[in-house]
Symmetry: C2
Subunit: 341 residues, 2 copies
């Protein structure tokens, strides 16, 4: 099937390409009669403008790129959901790529998006990434750019974040309020900013409450996986039978702990209370229901796109844009896993 072009319509009607183009774009300087003829024929022939040519002329593709660690993840899929919908409402399509937490893949993907000449890029960094060359290249090329959640503080660009230190502090404070005295933190990898910040929040809460910090009570995930939570649970209960509270970097890991404890008849929260992070859907249907920190994933997506749109508009009009940082609120969602009867 050959695609219909302006030229064909013009030939069929015996008028110029210029006039056809103007008629379809509803320019005021085309007679009503010509306009109607053109629009009718275009409809009959199922004409749709060749976006490749339009892109080349207008120098924009009305497409943005989105790189996240992985889509099969409660938090990220919710952000993706919001970004896709917001973008569509504003006439943009979204190309999605997954770094799978690999810096190497992420670099390649940034390159792909730059080559593709997307109008803007939204990103949440992989666990291995920092202010690396590929990020600098986005900035150097002056491509509208927003980072969310897993960000790098040194990069000058718009950001949508939560206050991970404060959120973690509040989660641990809650454990302490319910009577916990020996609190484990299962943290994320050493590199990502949010895993560092949650760790700091944990330490600050201990300090504030005059509970001595014990480095042996900190366990570090590599993958931030269910299986790690499960394995750490066994290790914790063997190495530190006196532990009475656990703050996990994310619900998935907390669920691993909870599953091990359930399987081995360790009472939650009577023996050990557990609180996770991000409030995954499943947390509310587990037994016991898991306490967690609510992270506004949908709103993060909405705000990320809104900031990117602002910047894309400035960029298009050649105006200077000053990056902004939006910080969203979090709160503790208290459920059975931390409420001692």
């Amino acid at each position: 099937m050959k695609d219909i072009t302006l030229k064909e319509i013009a030939t069929k009607l015996g008028i110029s390409i210029t006039t056809v183009s103007k008629a379809l774009k509803n320019y005021p300087d085309v007679s009503a009669k010509t306009k109607k003829a053109v629009i009718d024929l275009a409809q009959t022939l199922h004409y749709t403008p060749n976006s490749f040519a339009v892109n080349l002329r207008t120098k924009e593709s009305k497409t943005i790129g989105l790189i996240i660690p992985e889509v099969v993840h409660h938090f990220f899929s919710n952000v993706v959901n919001a970004i896709i919908d917001e973008a569509e409402k504003n006439g943009y399509l979204v190309i999605i790529l997954q770094s799978n937490e690999s810096l190497e893949l992420e670099k390649k993907q940034v390159e792909l998006l730059i080559n593709k000449r997307v109008d803007g890029i939204i990103m949440s960094l992989s666990n291995e990434s920092n202010n690396d060359d590929h990020i600098k290249e986005i900035i150097r090329r002056n491509i509208p750019f927003v980072m969310f959640d897993k960000i790098n503080k040194l990069t000058t660009c718009s950001k949508v974040i939560i206050n991970d230190q404060k959120a973690a502090f509040n989660a641990v404070q809650h454990l302490i309020d319910t009577g916990c005295k020996r609190i484990v933190h299962i943290r994320g990898p050493l590199n990502p900013q949010n895993s560092i910040d949650r760790y700091i929040g944990y330490k600050k809460a201990l300090e504030k409450n005059h509970i001595p910090f014990d480095a042996k009570l900190v366990y570090t995930c590599e993958k931030v996986a269910f299986e790690e939570g499960f394995a750490f649970a066994r290790q914790i209960i063997t190495e530190h039978p006196d532990v009475d509270g656990i703050f996990a970097i994310t619900d998935l890991v907390a669920v691993g702990v909870l599953t091990y404890f359930n399987d081995n008849d360790i009472k939650i929260p009577e023996q050990v209370a557990i609180i996770g992070f991000s409030n995954w859907f499943m947390s509310q249907v587990l037994t016991p229901k898991l306490s967690s920190v609510e992270q506004p994933s949908h709103e993060m997506g909405v705000q990320s796109f809104a900031l990117l749109l602002e910047e894309m508009i400035c960029h298009k009009e050649g105006l200077h844009y000053t990056p902004r940082t939006v910080e969203l609120q979090t709160c503790n969602i208290i459920r059975e896993s931390t409420v001692k009867p």
Copy 2:
């Protein structure tokens, strides 16, 4: 920041655009010396070809479109994950859109993708969709097209499916094997093919085992949501206290049932056994762990892209392509919710 073009490189080196283009594409008829000079300068200037111009010339965008009901869904996010990764390996990017189960949105999205001139489209239909005009338009335009999971039988295109009738039959047969005699089916909406097929599988299993079919034991979801499962559970236990088994259209609904039963001290599986569908991640961590039908989501994504790629290659070379249907295997995953002690 202005983008570097072939022309600028050519001017700087005092050679023609043609030669620069050829050098960068490693044509054999360019001298090694010229080639080196061009490649070096291109690198220094961070040259990357303008994909808009390349698309226009080559008439392909190396981009495919993917429309699914929603990305925040265990099954679909796994398929998306596989499609993105397979596409990237083969040099394609993926634009993702969500119909949110709305036919109207889906139609608009198909139009967007056609206008965008993606090289191919992969789709899983919304609950409201059939062999409608927008689907016919894809076929009419001869755009490479694959449907997976939620398909329409009448459309002539490649498909990746499971045998929903057989899978449902086996699930219900399992309930019967464990001693269930009054079995409820919480089905999906009336329109989608897979919800019809699972319903037929349910009926066939009853028939085969000489259990009379009772239309009152069939409950119909509108949204296929957790809340519906939860509400139906209360209704079922009130209207039919003798029910001893439930087969739900998907795990999310089964989890709603399970949650209501847990909250109200109805023993699973002693009083009522439950089996879901699709084997969502959370099913293995619930109490009791939920039995389900394993649906190979990742493999569905891999196969969908593979079929699309086949068709895109034929399309590009002007060859005729005969659509194929790939049927993947399912199996029962038996867990605590159906194993009577």
